[in-house]
Symmetry: C2
Subunit: 426 residues, 2 copies
């Protein structure tokens, strides 16, 4: 089988790349393959679907803010129901950490990020279920928990239905004449010499070599350009080529709660138009809570970093002990409404963590483009990254992000990398 | 067992770090452990032991140039016989690639790198065995081999005996009262909470966590600071912590030749004081040839990158087909004296490749310092890296490299990284 462009991975990054490639190359035959049975069924489906433009790195801000505008355009102008819910992002912080972030806030405000700062008293009034002052709670002090002094609310933030988003990209791509094949696993990339000599053992080290497609579970697929958008699985395809995916996969567990005791968190006035708790990051715990309005449930993700292992797993499993022994004892100190509440569902996904600079990679190799290392932010930067992929394929120096915002393609490359480090890290 | 500082890895990077740590902290108990039976027996022993100050990145130049000066001091002033042999490095290039490097040469000359440029005719005269003009050789053209138009000779370059270097560091370290334990494999790092509560399941996600030592094949070793200098093996220790070693291991095969037909390469006048071929990089082949004066042999390393797999191997094996099928057909076009010459010895080592910027990493985590990702340049930057490790341990912003050259410690870190990208890449 032969196509002009083969995209490996039908997650949001792969589908966004495929859509923009097909849009810009209507006559080219663009094929997306995925090992799973439908669009966005891998880690896209396991993500919380949060979006935010709250980044202090101009690189991150441009990628995210333009993608959010595109989501709004898809839903508002083009009629795709992405279930965008602008509930805001709320970071709860102790005074110490808050002070260290002053420079980041200033930078963000200068770029146009809308932030609102809430004091402890205001937080306590708006979120009656939240315990801000842990002073005097000996157990909390023993646990090293810090009181909540400040809340930082990101306004242009909320949630998107990741399944709807993946299906939207797939549908737009198919309408343009694109092609998808599910249940088709890429087993390996095919590397061939530029000039084949027909001698066994090619390619030799002195030959120019190109990726010319992939070996798949349904046979060989040749392509002029192969786009690797396989997320956490990318290393399985790229390691054999000696091409560094510049990320390490890390498990992230999601817990779901649906319990009448949590109803107070579904009725929080003054922080968003929906009158619910924003997507809220708890102080120092590396966890966040996301209300899901359609289901009346809460999702909780734990993204603890130092101490949680890297490594690709075929079928990552959630550990309920992570909630009961780890998260719960701290969580109930801040939100006593969680007392005795247990998750009704849980699953585990994998994020592709770029520890260097946490910013995604879009990089070429002969015959190939790699997009990934999005560090858990792939969905919320998906549209911009798809446009950068298409611009790189076209040989352009600048990609035009949605809203006519230019972006230097080489900045997300490897040897040409020039990104602004992210300083808003919690 | 308990020590103040535990260094994991008795390669040159680990021993240099240990020596500088002990030198600066004479009262601290510093212990080096290694899975093998002596100093520098891992990939240090498998390296070619080349040194060069030819780098266009100021970061690389400082690390390498100061390390070379230290080697000269060790041998010249302190009487350690490192078998330093200043044979120079010679890069053979086609005109196209040479032109692209103009900016890099200029930068290097400005920093003080001594370079000599040789034209094709001069190369042919000085190295009679070298075929520079491949024009008219149909087979060579079919193979895509480029003629040799230019030679770039780095003067402050040569070779060091890696075994002698490792033993020198070990001996200086032991003289200061340092301690080494061989045949002691680190099985894993120990992560404990800052404030132990004595509850099963610690450390919990809400606890500050520190590395407090390592589980080894000889039991637990606790330490205030653990230095991970395990080279290509570092990921085995760091992955479980979710700390990215920022490198991927890649096999590098070394072939050794000892043959009367090569004697012309041992008699090359005008390029160095030893009257031998410099350590010479062949054009476009990703191989280099190093004369070994003590043994009258030639070493040849193949560092082909795109197409050669990443991945740690317990016992990497050399493939003789890499020479016979891959290197040989191209090599004899440039150096016909290799005709029918076969390697008398071969082995495989592993390099820790940092694909991101190719510059080493010295980065802290709680209770820990990681030094690595040296991309095949660990030995030639070893002394500077050891000093950076010791400065980081001391909490200093600047390390003083040998020759009173200041170096900002955070520049080699991860989130604080600020290195000048290397533009001299062949």
């Amino acid at each position: 089988m032969e196509r002009d462009i083969l995209v490996i991975g039908a997650g949001v990054l792969g589908l966004s790349s495929a859509y923009h490639l097909k849009r810009r190359n209507p006559d080219k035959r663009v094929l997306v393959i995925d090992q799973l049975g439908g669009p966005g069924q891998g880690n896209t489906a396991k993500s919380a679907g949060g979006y935010r433009n709250v980044f202090a790195s101009e690189t991150n801000y441009l990628l995210a803010d333009s993608t959010i505008d595109w989501f709004l355009h898809l839903q508002g102008d083009l009629g795709y129901d992405l279930k965008l819910t602008r509930i805001g992002y709320l970071w709860l912080l102790g005074e110490g950490r808050h002070g260290q972030l002053e420079g980041a806030y200033e930078k963000m405000r200068r770029m146009g990020v809308e932030l609102r700062t809430l004091g402890r008293e205001e937080l306590g009034r708006l979120i009656p279920d939240l315990v801000t002052g842990l002073e005097g709670d000996e157990e909390a002090e023993l646990m090293g928990l810090e009181p909540v002094d400040v809340g930082v609310l990101g306004v242009k933030c909320g949630t998107v239905n990741t399944d709807a988003l993946a299906r939207c990209y797939e549908s737009m791509f198919l309408k343009l004449g694109g092609e998808v094949k599910y249940n088709t696993a890429a087993k390996g990339l095919i590397l061939r010499p530029e000039e084949e000599l027909g001698i066994p053992g090619e390619p030799f080290i002195w030959q120019e070599r190109n990726v010319v497609g992939a070996e798949t579970s349904r046979g060989e697929i040749r392509a002029g350009t192969t786009v690797v958008a396989a997320g956490a699985w990318s290393e399985r395809l790229l390691d054999p080529l000696g091409f560094d995916a510049l990320m390490r996969p890390k498990k992230r567990v999601m817990f779901v709660f649906r319990d009448p005791r949590l109803r107070g968190l579904m009725a929080v006035e003054g922080l968003n138009e929906h009158g619910v708790l924003p997507l809220t990051h708890m102080p120092g715990l590396k966890i966040y809570i996301k209300p899901d309005l359609t289901e009346g449930s809460f999702w909780m993700a734990c993204a603890d970093d130092f101490g949680r292992r890297f490594g690709l797993e075929d079928d990552p499993q959630p550990e309920s002990a992570l909630y009961t022994d780890n998260i719960y004892p701290a969580l109930v100190k801040y939100l006593p409404c969680f007392k005795d509440v247990r998750p009704v569902n849980m699953w585990a996904g994998q994020r592709a963590i770029n520890s260097y600079d946490t910013i995604p990679v879009v990089a070429p190799a002969p015959g190939m483009i790699y997009v990934g290392a999005a560090t858990g932010n792939g969905i919320l930067k998906s549209d911009a990254l798809g446009r950068v992929v298409a611009a790189l394929h076209a040989g352009e120096e600048e990609a035009m992000l949605y809203g006519d915002r230019p972006f230097r393609v080489a900045d997300l490359g490897i040897h040409t990398r020039d990104v602004e480090m992210e300083t808003f890290r919690i």
